[in-house]
Symmetry: C2
Subunit: 294 residues, 2 copies
């Protein structure tokens, strides 16, 4: 069985590609950026380019579409780029999946929900994203779900919790806090720090992609979030127990998503998924990995 | 005062451009297709091209962003094109509006609501579009509303009812029914014909753009729909009273939007708009115009 993982040079794509490889798939990692990874074939190209998307997906059984402008700061400063990669790019992969009768598993985000109307948020909750990142991710997701109805596409969308794990990008809150604490600089929290996040470990997310690729569910979004809610302040506190430093508070980040409790009950029911890595274990591993890789 | 009207060579854009011209604005009509219209400056270019969008909007006071892949059949057969024009193109115009401190009025659609959760549908109703046309229009709208919060953009989105009027595109239901009836061919209704539409006359929609450009409301969507609901079957019946022919029924169009009663109460409150052209008058004018232009 052959799978293309888009964005395979990135943080989450790398975890997903390795998981498929370890499960015995032939994995083609597709990215605009060069990378290498044992046991994974690489294909360097732009997913906004329909001919590249068609070439890399010829004859595949599944596509794990992780590649995106996933950096919220970049999406905010260049929404046209986010629109091109996250919407036009996704549309190209829908085309490719239909052509190849391949199953498509899409990396969406819990951030599509916006301000909670009720909690815990299940997949029927209204979607009201208000940031270029989540707006363009939702548009990609909606195009996929429409294609399952209109064009016979076989696909599911995974609405992922805030991902963390080894090789997180440098402007993620985990890396920023840890890097500051290790240098003895104060950690700056944007807002009051009470905004909660269901931090979900990249290895758990990678397993969700593998389970979703193997399942026959189609045309639905599925929340993939760990059960624990950790506030940004709790994250800072956990980091400073290991690298003591001061914690300061600044203005809230414009467009930051409000806290919300999201349910992963459907994931358990339909793809047999639930998170396995506790926040305590995941954070410990994250810190060890970051310290080691310096 | 200077306004750019995007899509000014198209059906609705032409009506909007004329309205601004008649109200005394200096109008620049921006379209990828060549056209000419008395008293309107033309600029031929692609709104997906950021440099063209920047050039045409230099120094403008307002942008009426009507240009889009508005043909639902084309959007369904080429969702990547719809994503490029409707999302990336809109993002380019957001950039242009911010740069020029220009007010942006965006042509969204009532079709963003999807299956009604309650009726009449006001602007707080959840949005669950399920067709590449309405999905990409909603993404453009969401990017605009996000930019009003994140980047100081001054903008409103008009969620338009199903537009009709002179020069409607040939694959609109009005034109198809009328052309068949005039040739004596049977009219084919897709589905049972009971799907209702709040057909809204292009001149009323053009007036809504002018009112919205002049108002200072920002960061909200506003429904712009005529109050009467006319079923597709009633439309066919009205046409065959003038050009008698048979009416036949076929399978429903995949992705066709369900009927829904939409409220234009907010438009009345915040921009003083309500529809003025009754369906009876509008249809009579449409038929006369279509017959004359042959």
């Amino acid at each position: 069985m052959r799978v293309v993982v888009t964005g395979a040079a990135g943080f989450l794509g790398r975890h997903v590609a390795r998981r498929f490889r370890d499960d015995g798939w032939h994995v083609v990692g597709f990215d605009i950026q060069e990378f290498s990874e044992p046991g994974i074939e690489t294909f360097i190209g732009d997913l906004c380019d329909l001919s590249a998307a068609a070439a890399v997906t010829a004859g595949v059984d599944a596509i794990a579409h992780v590649g995106a402008i996933g950096d919220v700061y970049l999406a905010a400063s260049d929404p046209s780029l986010a629109a091109r990669v996250n919407v036009v790019g996704t549309s190209n992969l829908i085309d490719a999946a239909i052509t190849n009768h391949a199953r498509l598993v899409y990396a969406s985000t819990w951030e599509v929900y916006g301000e909670p109307q009720y909690e815990p948020i299940d997949e029927r909750h209204p979607t009201m994203p208000d940031h270029p990142y989540s707006i363009t991710k939702l548009a990609g997701e909606s195009l996929i779900l429409a294609a399952t109805r209109l064009s016979g596409l076989d696909a599911v969308s995974l609405r992922l919790g805030t991902a963390y794990g080894s090789r997180l990008r440098p402007n993620s809150v985990f890396r920023i806090f840890l890097d500051k604490a290790r240098r003895g600089d104060p950690i700056l929290i944007q807002g009051d720090g009470n905004q909660g996040r269901q931090f979900t470990h990249a290895s758990d997310i990678a397993r969700a992609f593998a389970s979703a690729a193997a399942s026959s569910e189609t045309g639905i979004p599925i929340n993939i979030v760990a059960p624990e809610t950790i506030s940004i302040k709790e994250l800072a506190d956990a980091i400073i127990t290991q690298f003591p430093t001061e914690v300061a508070f600044g203005p809230a980040r414009p467009g930051d998503v409000p806290a919300a409790k999201v349910s992963a009950e459907l994931a358990r029911e339909v793809i047999g998924w639930s998170a396995e890595v506790s926040f305590e274990e995941g954070l410990e591993e994250f810190i060890a990995d970051a310290v080691e890789s310096r």
